[in-house]
Amino acid sequence: MESKVNLAVEIAGVRFKNPVLTASGTFGYGLEFAQFFDISRLGGFCTKGLSLLPMAGNPPGRIVETPAGMLNAIGLENVGVDCFIVEKLPLLEHYDTQVVANILGKSVEEFAELARRLDPFPKISSLELNISCPNIKEGGIHFGHDPRMAFQAVAEVKRNTTKPVWVKLSPNVTDVTVIAKVCEEAGADALTLVNTFVGMSIDVYRRRPMLSNVTGGLSGPAIRPLAVRMVYQVAKAVRIPVVGIGGIMCARDALEFMIAGATAVQVGTANFTDPLAAVKVIEGLEEFCEDQGISDINSVVGSVVTRG
């Protein structure tokens, strides 16, 4: 059944059949969800953050539910880039969806090496640099908070890959447009925002943090208005595409991000509450466009009207 609505979007020359991706860390390596729906329906998905060597992650006590959201401190547990290439990537060849490899380095050199190792594989359409994980001690968020380090990481990855480079930004900064502009200057092809907000929850009877890591990253609908605001600010401040993420549960939420300026969106925490959430967002976007007489989803991007 072919729809009359064009849902396809393009980011740095890569075509996504629709603007809905699933977010890194909420979709495994893709295959886990193939048991619930045909993942070829997705515009794309972002892999679990990949590091050079496998990472064990944080001790138990990794998640806790909070009002309209959850805190996590997984600590970037992942199989490592080589295992991903050998064991996971070949299985993804069967799916007609764009694979965005989320990468995480502890140093500029590690980011560069990750980019080099993933470059030969055509199935990977783009790279997403995680410079914003709040839950590990080295790397991660330090890049996301220090404009000079962010610049170096992005520039070095660009030198070592032929693929478009997205940078996933931390919202835990005073002015997100500062780092956004630095990443653009360093050659980033797109910006993903936002990663999780640092939060904390305490067991009042035991007087201990609910998470072994003490603090964790807050995600889910609780953060959506904050994320929409940041997407709006950044979309105005840069010329490269923005990918919006933060508490998207349904098509209406995705539209908020797109109207604020996002070319595409990522569904994250909602994948946990409903494995079919991303598919429902896609269907909802199509319905919305049909109802509203919109022939091309691209026409809503950045269409927010803020003055009379």
Binding site: G25, T26, F27, G28, E32, F33, Q35, F36, A56, G57, N58, P59, P60, R62, I63, V64, E65, P67, A68, G69, M70, N72, I74, E77, G220, P221, M249, C250, R252, D253, T269, N271, F272, T273, D274, P275, L276
Partner: protein
């Protein structure tokens, strides 16, 4: 392979101390569920943002053709919303999830199902299957009070030898189940045991310690907070001698000797 679907609640059987037994019509899940597996469950809601946001992990207690029952103790917002469901209401279920108990370990052994509190929910299907395959099965069931010993009649009906312990002595042995375990083992006259255990962590730790010390095979069904239930959120990490494993997709059943317990 797990299914994500809506299921109708057929019966909500109220039990003492905020417990209830919910029976859903879910043939696709029921048909594939093995002893020790679980489902993720939440009442269906018309709100875009469910409150609470995440489903709750519940062991499948029993199966009856296309129906499955889960035991729920209302201890927080998520379990309370489930416990308040009425027949005719719909729930969102994902299941069956996780790996069940290994039944082959029971062959020719004196099998003890050692459970505390709502841990009873994980072993009814197991008891049925072990009885079916002709194995010797005992239930050792600990709870705070006699009223907390929910579902015990189902096991009595099966004709299982029971050892009951309550913290206040209102039924059976007075004290923790683990305090009476040694004497109960001696009285059985057997020297060839196999344990299955599920319940609060201090009990699991004590049972595991005893099993490991005496070289008794022991399968432990663990509980952990989880967001998804199918191996992607990586929230339900369990420390093992083989590194971090996931309660949902590697477990929830682990060999006692694999597990590393937190210090009490």
């Amino acid at each position: 392979m797990p299914h994500a679907l809506q299921a109708e609640l057929i019966q909500n059987r109220r039990l003492p101390h905020d417990n209830c037994l919910l029976t859903f019509r879910a043939p696709e899940i029921a048909r594939e569920t093995l002893p020790g597996q679980f489902v993720m469950a939440a009442p269906k809601t018309h709100q875009v943002v469910p409150n609470p946001l995440l489903k709750r992990a519940l062991a499948v207690y029993s199966l009856d053709r296309g129906y499955l029952a889960v035991l729920v103790k209302a201890i927080g917002e998520g379990t309370l919303r489930l416990a308040l469901m009425q027949p005719g209401h719909q729930a969102n279920l994902i299941g069956p999830l996780g790996n069940g108990f290994d039944l082959t370990a029971a062959r020719g052994k004196t099998n003890y199902l050692i459970v505390g509190g709502v841990g009873i929910a994980s072993v009814y299907l197991l008891a049925q299957k072990l009885k079916q395959q002709g194995d010797e099965v005992h239930l050792l069931y600990g709870a705070r009070t006699a009223a907390d010993l929910v579902m015990v009649e189902d096991f009595q009906a099966m004709g299982l030898p029971l050892f009951i312990a309550t913290d206040d002595g209102s039924s059976g042995f007075k004290g923790f189940i683990t305090a009476g375990l040694g004497d109960y083992m001696k009285s059985s006259g057997s020297s060839n045991f196999n344990f299955y255990t599920c319940g609060p962590e201090p009990m699991l730790r004590a049972v595991s310690a005893l099993a490991c010390a005496q070289g008794i095979p022991c399968q432990v069904s663990v509980e952990a907070r989880m967001a998804c239930g199918f191996g992607v959120c990586l929230g339900c990490s369990v420390s093992t001698h083989d590194g971090n494993r996931l309660a949902c997709s590697d477990g929830p059943v682990f060999e006692a000797r694999e597990l590393i317990w937190d210090k009490p």
